[in-house]
Each structure stands twice: as C-alpha cells, then as structure tokens.
Symmetry: C2
Subunit: 223 residues, 2 copies
DNA sequence: GGTTGTATGATGGTATACCATAAGACAAGA
DNA sequence: TCTTGTCTTATGGTATACCATCATACAACC
C-alpha cells in the first residue's frame, strides 16, 4: 500500500556510533599532523584522551591500518604510518592515472548539469580562504569530476591515497613558488571539461599533478 | 660488534595472532564463495564457528569492511558485499590502468633476474592444475610484474580489487570459450617483457583484461 | 667488568559481561 | 479483519577484566 512518504519527516541523522566518531577524529588527527608520523598510538592513552573504551579504539585502529594511515609493528603496537618519497611517488603516479581517466571520462559525458556543479565547485574553491577550506573545496571539486565520470570506486581509492600523502598535499597547496599557480591549472581543467575536450582535460590534470608531485618531492627530500 | 648472523637460525614464523588467522580464514571463505554474496555475518555465530571471541571477529570484520569485502548495514550488521556489473566494470577499468602501467614499467626495467623470476612464475602457472592452484599462480605471476616495476602500492590496490571480484575471476579462469585462450595472452605478456618492449607489454595486458572483463560481464548479467 | 638471570612494568591480545535497540510474534481491541 | 501495543529475542555497541609477552633495569655471578 503506497502511502506517499513525506521527505520532510525523514530522519536522516542516523545515530552515529562511537566508532564512527572516533574514526573521524583520529583520521583528522593523523591527516592534520597532530599525531606526527611514526608516533606510537598507545591504546590506553587514546582511550583516556577520547573517553571511550579500548574496543572502540582497537576497531578504529584496524580500519586506519587498512587505510594505510597506521601501521602495526609486531609486538610494538600501532604507529602513525611513515611516508618516504618512494611511496609518495607511487601514489602520485597512481593518482595521475586515475584522475586523468576521470577527467577524460567526465569531459566526455559532461552535460549542462555536470558543468553547473563543476562551475559551482570551482567558484567555491576560489572563494575558499584558509588551509582547511581550500582542502575541503579541492576535495569537492575532484569529487564532482569523479562522480560525473561514474568512477566511484576510483574516487574511493584516490581519497584513501590522499589521506596517506595529506601532509604533502597541505604543503603543496600552501606553496606559491610553482611555475604556474595551482588555480590557473585548475581553471584549465574546468575549461577543458566545459569544452567536452577529453584529451585536454586529461592533459591538464596530468600537468597539475606532475607539478604537485615535483613540489612534494622537494618538500619531502628537503626536510 | 659484528657477530655474523646465522640466517638458518632465524625464527621466521612470527607467532601469528588470532586476528590474522581469522582474517585469512574469513577472507578466503568470502572469496571462495563459501559465504555467499549478501549473506549476513552474525558475530556470535562466527565466534562459535571459529572458536574465538567477539573482539577478534569484530576487528576482522572492520578490516574486511575497509577492504570492500564486507559492508555494514546500519542497525543490521555486516553482510558479504554485493557486486553488480557497474562496480565490476569500474574495477576492470582500474585494473586496466594499473596493470598496464605495471607491465610497461616492468618491461622497461626488466633485467636478467626479473626475466628469470617471470619465466619461473609463468612455468608454475602452466604447471598448475586445479582452480586454486591456478588462482595462486596467477597472483604470483602478476606480483612479479608489479614488484619488478616498483609498483608496490598499486599491487596492494589491485589485490584488494581482485578480492572484490574474486568470484568473477574464478568464473573467467574456468571459462574456455574465449577467443584466445588465457594462457596464450599470458605468453604474449611474457614475450613482450622479455623483449623489453613496454608498449607491447601494456597492450598485451590490456587485451587480456578486456577479454576477461567481457567474459565477466556475460557471466554476471547472465545469471 | 661483562655476561646472564630475573623481576617488574607497560602494552597489546583475548575473552566476557552488560546494555540499547530493532525486528518479529502475538494478543487485544476497534 | 485490521490496527496497535507490547513482549521477547536476536544482535550489534560498549566497557572491562585478565593474560601473555616484550622491554628495561638491576642484581648476581663468573
């Protein structure tokens, strides 16, 4: 019996479980660098800091471990994952493939709706002030591209990889000494997609990423 | 003080933790299809079947969830992840990119040692009888390629993706009605790498994968 | 003095107990 | 008969208790 559901009465806010909350907190704590690379994650200490039991902390650590943000040394416990340039380079290479394909796919199928969303995301990016806001806006921008291309799984993978190089990304976003400013490169991506030019979109994304990777390398090897 | 370590006395067998054992068991149970797609994974039942406590089972489920093999429905608990063709197609597309790049990279840098290992892996593949053995040998074959190319992280990703389409892979491996038998395609890959021909290696891998994807699509939409 | 045995504390691994809630069954009333 | 309230049970969420092991320090013995 169809009884016309009233969307306004919907309960969207599922009662978030403690685990999800703690997962979010710890993830941002690691990504933001509050827990530095290599730092030990002592379970009982985290319990005290977070006010939850070890069950929750342990399950969250397992998730973060699977995400590559945490690694567990045998008989030593979990530590924040370390990142060397060899790994970072691989991650940038993979992003080059996945983001290039997404941009090309997006450009190939972009209709008016997609272009609207992309323009909005780009405007938000340009309006964003402050590191976190830029970070967030950049994520949204790429999400539009991946979703439009129908590459949801690739998007998941890229997000996870981005988590692992988050500190590098923050550094590259803040860097101003790049040959062509990031915003200009982003604008090229937008233009290519608006023109439904798949090859140009891929090229623009790849240029942007190679640029970012070069900066990241200087950062990582310079310290 | 250097005191010449005796490799023979090494203790390799790390005292595997219960969690790792259970993780392995459950992963293969899902991949092999013993837990069918969509089946509920009731924690206490699993505890009985495995003879471990819920702590262990829950942590393992978190890992499998992060791997994409399990999904947790809110207020319903974990179930074996479902797979539709839309997702499978995306996974094959990503594999196309990553495996193509790995094969090209491997061909570009392959020296005598790599070629030896590759030949050995291919021989093992041809000698393998039985579904599981073929599966295992195929994995080893690709591992040689990825490792030689230095694409460790991409290899992790591919392995994880393969877990999600394992049942499809089993079907395609068992299929004989492909235009060109799988072994022949594999031989092309080997030949291209032996000749250090990166473009040909990429092409061979891509052909092989497109073939497998086509078979998988027929399987998945046919049932 | 250096080596080795031992005690102690920190920490992860594991098991279990308890609680909140959702889903299904069933009875009572219209 | 259909609705509605309630009860029960299954199940996941959370906390805690206990155990095994590793690392460190220190003492004892050669």
């Amino acid at each position: 019996m169809e009884q016309g559901l009233h969307p306004d009465l919907r309960i969207d806010q599922m009662p978030q479980t403690l685990r999800e909350i703690v997962l979010g907190r710890m993830r941002t704590a690691i990504i933001s660098g509050r827990f530095p690379s290599g730092a030990r994650l002592v379970e009982r200490t985290l319990c005290d800091q977070l006010g939850v039991s070890r069950s929750v902390v342990r399950e969250v650590i397992r998730i973060l471990e699977a995400e590559g943000l945490v690694e567990s040394l045998p008989n030593r416990g979990p530590v924040v994952a370390r990142l060397d340039w060899g790994q970072a380079r691989q991650i940038y290479d993979i992003r080059l493939l996945l983001e290039g394909a997404a941009a090309a796919g997006c450009a190939a199928v972009a209709d008016a709706g997609v272009k609207d969303r992309l323009a909005a995301a780009f405007a938000a990016l340009e309006a964003a002030g402050g590191e976190d806001a830029v970070f967030e806006a950049t994520t949204r921008f790429y999400e539009v591209i991946f979703r439009a291309a129908g590459h949801d799984i690739a998007w998941e993978i890229v997000q996870r990889l981005n988590g692992r190089i988050s500190r590098l990304r923050a550094l590259t976003l803040a860097t101003v000494d790049r040959a062509v400013p990031g915003r200009v490169r982003m604008a090229r991506i937008v233009a290519a997609i608006m023109a439904n030019n798949a090859a140009a979109a891929r090229q623009a994304v790849e240029d942007h990423l190679r640029d970012a990777a070069a900066i990241a390398q200087r950062m990582l090897e310079g310290e």
